[in-house]
Symmetry: C2
Subunit: 283 residues, 2 copies
């Protein structure tokens, strides 16, 4: 049962779900996947939720997840209540509610199906050109980089063109691009793509406005099975207004093929929320 | 109580929700908002769901909705079960399940808050240039246009640059742009934006592949209160693969300000689902 495979890598162990004697699903959320202050990363939690949905689905892959982040989720035991929706030959729907000791923290609509790796019939998503990973900026050791658990689980190499902020030279564009893979070398799959869809720092970092930008809602679409090796992640904000920011994410695999898309609505980090102040020339 | 205002326009009457004696919420879904075969439009249904969420929220506006379309929804009475999540000063979460006589058909995560109309702090969403509405193509009377209930409720004027398909000259780009407003002249508000976010024909129409493209999941973000008058809607697909298509939607108000963003994952219409056939040069 792939969703309970706990042998392969830190990611698989940390996202495992087990069936309880009562027939429910439970996870032991690993505090080592935090983004600071003991709060777990939203993409990590989505992967746990997807495993729960897959445990009860006739289909093997998550293709669409829409999540409401109700409260910050800490590490520790959590119950995953899966409500099955219609399931057919092509796809299956379910709802998953993740609840820890303090109650529900994450509510997710999940669609599962069977993904392929055939070439796209139509695409306007060419992969952006990036220097090779070794010519990029490793955020794990970068000053100003995120000194959080999540950063130790991932190998993230920022495109130098979007890494000025790491060296104190912020951009005027809320754009980050990076190569990314799991730190232990585990190859990407649809579950890892859910993690990668929320793994870069907030785009506000690029313009020199660090701080936690809590996700309110996040939708991730997995479009194809990724090839082995590095993935390329691009995250950008297109509109910041009234204390809210979007974050658009696209992920390509090592063959340059688009494999996932995501969009989240986040609150603007407190230290950068200054009403009426344009953080960049409005273009 | 705005969400129960049934006097103003056909849209308000058709999306009204009422409190039952048992304390639940109920709508009488209007079959006149269909997209063919008696199936109601997804954006119309989102507006009904948002009214139900607002009825139980301390906040006045829908800012984020993520919906799973479980089954096609016909007209007739429907119950709206609202499960309240955390509610604070800034925002409130809830889940809404819409169920008709045949059971649940739509499950939605809703975030409500208070929207403003101040200028954006940061934007890379300039409104595309479009001819004036009177110089555009009215789809209500166009041959090949959608002869469905929804088309009678809306006044939609396609940008001639994306309307070639109406006259039998399809494009190679899955892109549609149009001015849109409610047919009875009602001004836009956040609820109408939910409707507009799923109101254009499938983008496959633009490349000469008509047919119903059922929405699987749809996320709509409302970013600001729209000004009075026409809205400009752009819908485009960026990736079609394995029988699935995305549809990206942006909506600007009459002042050229971005007011909503949406993304959906849809199944490719049956008549155009031909495995291995590139419908356009892959760019």
């Amino acid at each position: 049962m792939p969703q309970n495979d706990t042998g392969r890598s830190a990611f698989d162990r940390a996202t495992a779900v087990t069936r309880t004697e009562g027939g429910g699903l439970r996870a032991d959320l690993d505090p080592g996947w935090d983004v600071g202050n003991g709060v777990l990363n939203g993409g990590y939690l989505l992967a746990v939720v997807a495993r729960a949905a897959l445990a009860d689905s006739p289909h093997p892959h998550p293709v669409a997840l829409s999540a409401s982040y109700l409260r910050a989720t800490p590490g520790g035991p959590a119950d995953l209540a899966v409500t099955a929706g219609p399931a057919g030959r092509t796809l299956a729907h379910s709802s998953v509610l993740l609840a820890g000791a303090a109650g529900p923290t994450l509510s997710v609509q999940v669609t599962t199906a069977t993904l392929g790796s055939d070439p796209a019939d139509y695409t306007v998503n060419p992969a952006p050109p990036l220097p090779a990973p070794d010519a990029c900026v490793a955020t794990r050791t970068a000053e100003g980089g995120p000194a959080v658990g999540l950063a130790r689980q991932l190998d993230t190499r920022l495109d130098p063109a979007t890494a000025g902020w790491v060296a104190g030279r912020p951009s005027d564009r809320r754009l980050l691009r990076a190569w990314i893979r799991l730190a232990d070398g585990r190859d990407p799959d649809p579950l890892a793509l859910l993690l990668f869809a929320d793994a870069l720092p907030p785009t506000a970092f690029a313009v020199g406005e660090p701080g936690w930008a809590p996700t309110v809602q996040l939708q991730v679409l997995v479009r194809a099975l990724p090839a082995r090796g590095w993935c390329l992640v691009e995250s950008r904000s297109t509109e910041v207004t009234g204390g809210w920011s979007d974050e658009e994410c696209r992920i390509w695999d090592s063959a340059g093929r688009l494999v996932a898309q995501a969009r989240q609505l986040a609150r603007v980090a407190r230290q950068s929320r200054r009403p009426g102040r344009a953080t960049s020339p409005v273009r």
